[in-house]
């Protein structure tokens, strides 16, 4: 299972890339594999407030719908609209195809995220 070293992770199988005050969020390789063929993605609007641990969107595979839980609180500054027409991009390359970018409101929350080693242990 692919767990890139330069990212941090949530227990709900999202990855987070921290770049100053900006966090880019996507789903992990493990998540896309568990979901199976992804056929629908629902995104928040830019400017929406998101809260750690609360749903910010939905991914649906052929089989079922799953909520996306936000790993950190903040304001959505970008959403990857390419996913609306091509949701399967999350299957083909989950680490390139980010879902949203957030302006981080509380850096303290980052402490709750998992290191690549911790995440690899979680999905073992």
């Amino acid at each position: 299972m692919n767990v890139p070293q330069q990212l941090v992770y949530s227990r709900e199988h999202e990855w987070v890339k921290i770049d100053g005050d900006r966090a880019t969020i996507g789903i992990t390789d493990y998540a896309q594999g568990s979901l199976g063929d992804i056929v629908f993605v629902e995104l928040p609007a830019e400017g929406d407030k998101v809260k750690a641990g609360v749903g910010f969107g939905v991914v649906e595979s052929v089989k079922a719908a799953s909520d996306l839980y936000c790993p950190i609180s903040g304001t959505v500054v970008a959403a990857n609209h390419a996913l609306l027409d091509n949701p399967q991009l999350l299957n083909t390359d989950p680490y390139t195809n980010w879902i949203i970018a957030v302006a981080i409101s509380d850096h303290g929350e980052l402490a709750h995220l998992l290191t690549p080693e911790q995440y690899a242990e979680l999905i073992k």
């Binding site: 199976g36 056929v39 629908f40 052929v62 089989k63 079922a64 719908a65």
Partner: protein, 370 residues
């Protein structure tokens, strides 16, 4: 059989070694997919796929009154069946609600095999037993049968490699009780749940792993894949084949579910007949219709359906259709609310998403009829 335990079919180890992803399906540990639902779905439509459906139940009805017992239990006309013919039918309660849908295999007029849904085995067995006189023996043989389904345009070519029996001689909805497949006896019928040509193959639990592997090996060069429950559901939905629990239930009559063709009032008395007759005369209150989503959103079972803002029913089954590459569904709604081509809305996470009624089936069945 344990009701809440984890039940496994005789092919559990095969699914494991093939990388099957397991889910709990009414207490059965079965693969929802192997390589991926969309790929598996397309393989059945274009080539062939092999399914483990050993969880299905088999109930044998035997004795001089067997035909009368079956006739009383089901909505179809089992008297019209020839020996070795199969009938799709329904068992109803007195009020017209559905006990189960099933396949009826007629060996002779005094020997039938009823193939029923896994989740309903105990209920169906009791129901049949309750309505059989002492001259008729009713046996739950579910544990004595494994069942494989080989479905798709290449199914016959693949299975023919393993048997000397000329499979082209089995017409659509007929069966042969003992076909030798790679040295093992099997009941083979030209039936299925995908909308494609194909076979259902009943073997002993002991022979099942061997037959499974032989079929997979024979079919691999042609592109045969093992298929999980996920694709089984998308395939049957496209072909408009009902799923008990979604399109059929004790609260839904066959007439509401669009299965009037399978209710033979002319055959005489059967359980549920007067209730269904009354419903037909008074007007069938609901209808099952097909729709496609016009806006982004996937309709799922139980989602509310509205027309002009009024709630008129719910989604019975829905999802992404790999063949149509659209989001489709079946809705059970108040009759006469939406004309063919008319608009409705599916409430997806509290938001109405536009949909349009389209004709059924979504996918035209490609059965091999003589």
């Amino acid at each position: 059989m344990a009701k809440y335990g984890r039940m496994r079919t005789p092919l559990y180890e095969q699914h494991q070694s093939l990388g099957g992803k397991f889910i709990d399906f009414g207490g059965w540990e079965l693969p929802v997919q192997y390589s991926g639902i969309i790929e598996e779905h397309e393989t059945v439509r274009t080539t062939a796929g092999l399914f483990d459906v050993s969880h299905m139940g088999e109930i044998e009805v035997k004795g001089p009154d067997a035909l009368n017992v079956v006739q009383k239990l089901v909505t179809g006309d089992a008297a019209k069946l020839r020996d070795n013919q199969v009938l799709y039918s329904l068992m109803c309660y007195d009020d017209g609600g559905v006990v189960d849908d099933l396949l009826i295999y007629r060996y002779t007029a005094s020997h039938f095999l009823l193939v029923v849904n896994a989740a309903n085995i105990d209920k169906d067995y009791s129901w049949v037993l309750e309505h059989a006189p002492t001259t008729t023996t009713v046996e739950n043989l579910s544990a004595s049968y494994a069942q494989l389904a080989l479905q798709g345009p290449q199914a016959e070519e693949i299975l023919q490699q393993l048997t000397p029996f000329p499979l082209e001689k089995i017409p659509f909805f007929y069966f042969v009780p003992s076909v030798v497949i790679s040295g093992h006896f099997a009941l083979v019928s030209r039936t299925g749940y995908t909308g494609e040509d194909g076979f259902e193959i009943y073997t002993s639990p002991e022979a099942a792993p061997f037959v499974w592997e032989k079929i997979l090996k024979a079919g691999r060069p042609l592109g045969l894949l093992p298929i999980g429950l996920g694709a089984r559901d998308t395939l049957r939905l496209e072909a408009n084949l009902p799923l008990y629990g979604n399109e059929l239930s004790p609260e839904i009559t066959p007439l509401e579910a669009g299965l009037s063709a399978f209710v033979k009032f002319s055959k005489g008395e059967f359980i549920g007949r007067s209730a269904l007759q009354l419903q037909k005369e008074m007007g069938i209150p609901r209808e099952l219709l097909g729709f496609t989503m016009l806006e982004r959103g996937i309709p799922r079972s139980t989602y509310p359906v509205t027309v002009g803002g009024d709630r008129v029913g719910h989604v019975a089954s829905g999802g992404y259709s790999p063949s149509l590459k659209q989001n489709i569904g079946l809705a059970l709604i108040a009759r006469g609310k939406v004309a063919e081509g008319g608009n409705l809305a599916v409430i997806v996470r509290d938001k109405p998403i536009a949909a349009r009624r389209i004709p059924l089936p979504f996918y035209r069945k490609r059965y091999k009829r003589k």
